[in-house]
Amino acid sequence: MSLSFLILALLTLGGAVAAMTLHRLVHCVLALTVALAGLAGLYLNLGAQFVGLAQILVYVGAVAILIVFAVLLTRGAEIASQMDSSRQGRFSALAGGVATAAAVFAVLAWVVLHSPTLSAPAATMTQVAPQAAMQQIGDALMRRYVLPLEVMGLMLTAALIGAVILALEEKPEAQ
């Protein structure tokens, strides 16, 4: 457990907390990008170079932009997004949500900390970072994972079409 891991973990978690609690939606999105960038740092720290960089490319470069556009497209929401704790029902919902999340975390943490396979200092734990050169990834992708790749292509196309249909105005404007 290195220092860099700690810093990155803190960055990620801090970003995530900020993303979930800040008032302004745009701030939330910016905090989310911090969290995702931190996560990318964690991947890099773990030796997964390609995944880490892909994470930045896709999440920071594209998904964040997408969310920002969505926020700007639905501006009225910005005011409504505040956590209005004055109302009783609202407050209880808030408390309920937090409690559920805390409970989930408790269970997960308990499992992690008490799992015998994880706590045992197995030989695998200390191994040097596995090699994951780009070529290996490419080879693996094009040999063993060709089918998932094609499925992924199909899914991306479907997502494109679906999202466009949803986001497109119902009545095309009379140009």
Partner: protein, 103 residues
């Protein structure tokens, strides 16, 4: 504490934060952000297990994360499109209000 445990703890905390946000925030976009966070928490697990797991040369965890990123991105696109589509009708992105205005 082993590095793997650390990763898993961070991941579960991230998951919990995402979950808490998704449950408590009223803006649909924020709910989506929460879900994204949960997905990413899972991804961290995959990478951690790939890194410290026994068959790292197989790259399964890594490729799985790549696919997962793709799926999450697609999900975000469709999800946000959905929010926009609903917004167009209800003029709100508040999940509760959406619920009330339904029908």
């Amino acid at each position: 504490m082993t590095p793997l445990t650390g990763c898993l703890l961070v991941s579960s905390l991230l998951f919990a934060i995402g979950l808490g946000g998704a449950l408590t925030r009223r803006s649909a976009i924020l709910v989506l952000i929460g879900i994204e966070l949960m997905l990413n928490a899972a991804n961290l697990n995959f990478i951690a297990f790939w890194r410290y797991g026994p068959h790292s040369e197989a790259l399964t965890g890594m490729l799985f994360v790549i696919f997962s990123i793709a799926v999450a991105a697609a999900e975000a696109a469709v999800g946000l499109a959905l929010i926009i589509a609903i917004y167009r009708h209800t003029k709100t992105t508040d999940v509760q209000e959406m619920d009330e205005l339904r029908g």
